[in-house]
Symmetry: none
Subunit: 341 residues, 2 copies
């Protein structure tokens, strides 16, 4: 095919800009935005219309890809955060790559190294349990020092200076326990996991504060640390038979639904004999019988916010060199359902 010689006017028409814009673009006028300028120049070059000097800077090429590292995927909360990140990323022309740390420090390090090696522009991550336990964050520091921005969400650490998106776990737990107290419950158990996740401590603090603020004595035996679901059934079954508790604040849905089933088995009714609130709103709470009152962590909003913070930093970092890191707190709220009514 013969390549037609193109005129300024044709370029303008083809790209839907004014002739003046084309002309200025070909002269590298600062009046014209970079994107338009480069587009016009590309067209002109292809059609052998040569402007004076095209300054091609191949430095700092961006991938337009965001890397996400999360502890696990079989977890409704993380899935919703990912959906929230995808929304904002796609709107802004970014793609998303996900890697799982499987709550392992080594996998987290390996995945960060792999992705930082030219595949992505920046990270959004939630720390693995093992990383939080070890307190070793060198892999994150290194990435940041090399100029790659990191936004942490949910499981964060004070050891790293970067943008963060969290919920106020202490306030959220406080609100949940207060709502149980407001309904006349006094023997409230906290059912939590045996692990090193920072959020566990904060939720415990909120639980204790709500009790003390309401002059309910804090009983250490009502903080129940559960290894797995089977243990949950046995431990809670005993407490229920002893009539030692009339409400439960569980740190996840699985514990909550297991506790309800345990109560039913020994002839107790939820919520009459036992009120139940679970942390993190997921599909189990919505579809169990009775439905379960939950603390919604709003994963979508958390993902939206994390993506916005990362993209903002990616697109302003070089001019600004700005290190005013922010920590955004996403509001939680109680979703009241049958298990407390």
């Amino acid at each position: 095919m013969m390549k037609r010689k193109i005129t300024l006017k044709q370029i303008a028409k083809e790209l839907d800009v004014s002739i003046s814009t084309v002309s200025k673009s070909l002269r590298n006028s600062p009046e014209i935005g970079e994107e338009t300028r480069l587009k016009v120049q590309a067209f002109a070059k292809f059609y052998n219309y040569k402007p004076n000097n095209i300054a091609l800077s191949l430095k700092n090429r961006k991938t337009k890809v965001i890397g996400i590292i999360i502890p696990e995927i079989v977890h409704h909360f993380f899935s919703t955060v990912i959906n929230g990140i995808e929304q904002v990323a796609n709107e802004n022309g970014y793609s998303v790559i996900i890697c799982l740390s499987d709550d392992s420090f080594d996998k987290e390090v390996l995945n960060m190294e792999m992705l930082a090696n030219g595949s992505i522009d920046g990270f959004i991550m939630s720390l693995s349990k093992e990383t939080q336990f070890k307190g070793d964050f060198h892999h994150i520091t290194e990435v940041i020092n090399q100029g790659m921005p990191v936004v942490m969400f949910d499981r964060v650490t004070n050891e790293i200076l970067c943008d963060k998106v969290i919920i106020d776990d202490k306030a959220a737990a406080y609100e949940a326990v207060q709502s149980l107290i407001d309904k006349g419950r006094k023997k409230i158990a906290l059912v939590t996991t045996v692990d090193y996740v920072s959020v566990g401590k904060l939720r415990t603090d909120g639980y204790i504060k709500a009790l003390l603020d309401n002059d309910i004595p804090f009983n250490e035996n009502l903080i129940i640390k559960i290894e797995d679901i089977d243990t949950c059934e046995i431990t809670i079954g005993k407490l229920l038979e002893d009539k030692a508790i009339d409400a439960v604040f569980a740190v996840n849905e699985l514990f909550a639904v297991t506790i309800i089933k345990t109560a039913n088995k020994i002839g107790l009714t939820v919520p009459k004999d036992l009120a139940v609130i679970a942390f993190t709103d997921g599909i189990i709470s919505k579809y169990s019988t009775p439905t379960i009152t939950t603390v919604s962590q709003n994963g979508i909003k958390m993902g939206n916010k994390a993506a916005k913070m990362l993209i903002e930093r990616l697109e302003t970092a070089e001019e600004e060199g700005n290190e005013n890191y922010k920590t955004e707190v996403i509001e939680t709220h109680l979703i009241e359902r049958e298990s407390t009514h």
Copy 2:
């Protein structure tokens, strides 16, 4: 000012053509007119967009990374497949990168382009609904033609020659419906989705065959296509009030649990008045009241198998050039729970 690396999507937007056109143009597809093709190529070249890095990267180095492309993440089945892939991949020294197509053809194409561009050694993927509907698989063909192996699972197509891991959806549906018939049920509804997923058709075939093999007349009105959960409640509610059904085979857990709640609302008991089986074993079935009998798809095993097949091909491909593609069928089984007993 920096010049960003351009994506397929951006080229498509700039030139006002579809992503598919850009993708095909860059591969010199004869489907695309010469002018468009050259224009796209000029743009891509100017912005250093390199679609043909694959062969090069394959020869020069292995990334030891497997790319997974799945339709969605808030879905227990896909999560378990990913866990299955991770297990075998990690055992063999491979890392895993996940991208979501969000059931969109364009996102599937974009994600494949992004990953194929030197980040990974091979793909494990399940097709997006839109891709199945369009029947456009050029992006997969091209990746394979350039020497990058692809293993498909669950949502596969006969149009592409590659290794596949599937379940026998027809046999699985047959077994489920037969088990309902064995329990004396005769008015069995199939509750399915309104979409283009290949597996939907196979499950319907198995449902019909089981009825006919047992001399139960097939009633088209008992194949219920559901748009969303709200519709499910209304449609099933009517059938239950009319005593038109005594059993339900639902293609997912959400439908099953909604049907049970609908039955309870109008005073019916599961399983006495209505037996319920759901396709795909997930957490809802295990924790709902009553617990739900399911067809287990065994996502872990499916993921294990897919990873084994891909790694085997990655590690023998160069010597063998072997194209004896296999389709592995993973066995399903019924997990009997309270909803049918």
